[in-house]
Symmetry: C2
Subunit: 190 residues, 2 copies
C-alpha cells in the first residue's frame, strides 16, 4: 500500500513558511507513553499505539528533494532509520551525501519512484513524505491511503499538503481522538 | 458564544469554485434519522444529535454578503429560519430584499456585527457563516469556537475557510466519528 501520513494544521499546512514543523510534531512529545519503535518520542497512549502501528507497517520511504535539503539529508539516517529511502528529484546531488542504507535519488518521476520503493518494501507499505510527493502521487492515481494527524493550530502560511489538485473522493477508515491531535485515516477511492 | 460551524473538504474548502457546497453538505441527507429541528434533513443518528444540539444553541446569525448574494438571500427566510440575520457588507442593498424576520445589513465592520448579533441572540450563541466573516472574526479575536464538519473529499479549488490568517492556537473539545463526516469542535485560545 502507498500511504502518506502527515501532521497538518487546521488550515492545511505541514510546515510553516520557514519549512519548520516543530509545532505540528509536538504531539510526538506530549505525553508519558514512549513509542516502542522510537523511545525518544513519548506521547499519550492512543497516539503511541497509532504511531507504532504505522511505523511497523513501513518498508520503504519516498521523500521530496525539498524535505531532503531542508533537513540536511536527515544526517544520513533517513526519516525512518534503517528503511530504504527514495528521494524524488530533478537532479541527483553529486556527490550524494553519505547515508546508511544509501539513499536512492529518482529522477524518472513519481511512477518510477513508487515502482522502486514498492520493490524495496517487499510487501510492506511505502510511506510518502512531503507535499509535492503526495500531490504527484494523488494526481497519478497511485496513492492508497492518506493519514492526517490534525493539530489544533492555525499557522497562517507555509507548505500546504493538499494544493491545486483535481477532485478526489476518499473514505474515512479510522478516527483516533487523542489528547493533542486527531488521527484521521482515509482510503483514496479510485 | 461566537461559533462558526462549516462543512469543510480535506483541502480546506467550504464551497467549490462556483460557490456550490452541495457535496460538502451531502452528510445532511446521508442517513435515516431526521433532524428534530429540520425534518427534511435525515442523517446518521450521531450527526443528527450533533446538528440539533448546535442549532438549539443558536440565537442569531452573521453571514457574509457573498453568501447572501449567492443564495438569493435565502429566499427571505435566512440560513436558519426564524433567527435574526446580520449581513456583513460594505453597502446595504437598496431596496433590501423582503425577509422575515427582516435582515439587518451591517456596514460598520465585524465588531459592530458581533455586537448587534450578540444583543439579538439574548444569551444564546451567535453563529457565523462564510469564510470572510470567520476570518475577520478570528483576526479581531472575537471567535470563541470553530466547528469543522470534515468531509472526506478533495475539491481542488474553491472558497477556503481558513486563509491568510495570523497563527492561532485552539483546543479540541469534541470529536464525533459519524459515518459520512467527522464533527470536530475547537475552542479558540486567546
Amino acid at each position: 500500500m502507498i500511504t502518506a501520513p502527515h501532521s497538518v494544521s487546521l488550515d492545511g499546512f505541514i510546515a510553516d513558511a520557514d519549512h519548520r514543523s516543530d509545532r505540528l510534531h509536538a504531539w510526538l512529545r506530549s505525553g508519558g507513553t514512549p513509542s516502542r519503535l522510537n523511545p525518544s518520542f513519548t506521547m499519550p497512549a492512543a497516539s503511541a499505539a497509532f504511531f507504532d502501528q504505522g511505523v511497523a507497517r513501513c518498508g520503504a520511504v519516498i521523500a521530496g528533494r525539498r524535505t531532503h535539503d531542508v533537513t540536511g539529508a536527515w544526517g544520513g539516517k533517513g526519516p525512518m532509520p534503517g528503511l530504504p529511502l527514495f528521494v524524488l528529484t530533478h537532479r541527483a546531488p553529486d556527490p550524494a551525501p553519505p547515508a546508511e542504507p544509501p539513499y536512492t535519488y529518482v529522477t524518472g518521476g513519481i511512477e518510477r519512484a513508487v515502482e522502486q520503493a514498492r520493490t524495496a518494501a517487499a510487501g510492506k507499505d511505502v510511506v510518502l513524505m512531503g507535499a509535492t510527493v503526495v500531490q504527484q502521487c494523488l494526481r497519478a492515481g497511485l496513492l492508497d491511503e492518506l493519514i492526517i494527524n490534525l493539530v489544533p493550530i492555525v499557522l497562517g502560511r507555509g507548505v500546504r499538503l493538499l494544493n491545486d489538485l483535481e477532485p478526489v473522493d476518499l473514505e474515512l477508515t479510522g478516527v483516533i481522538d487523542a489528547p493533542a491531535v486527531t488521527h484521521l485515516t482515509y482510503r483514496v477511492l479510485k
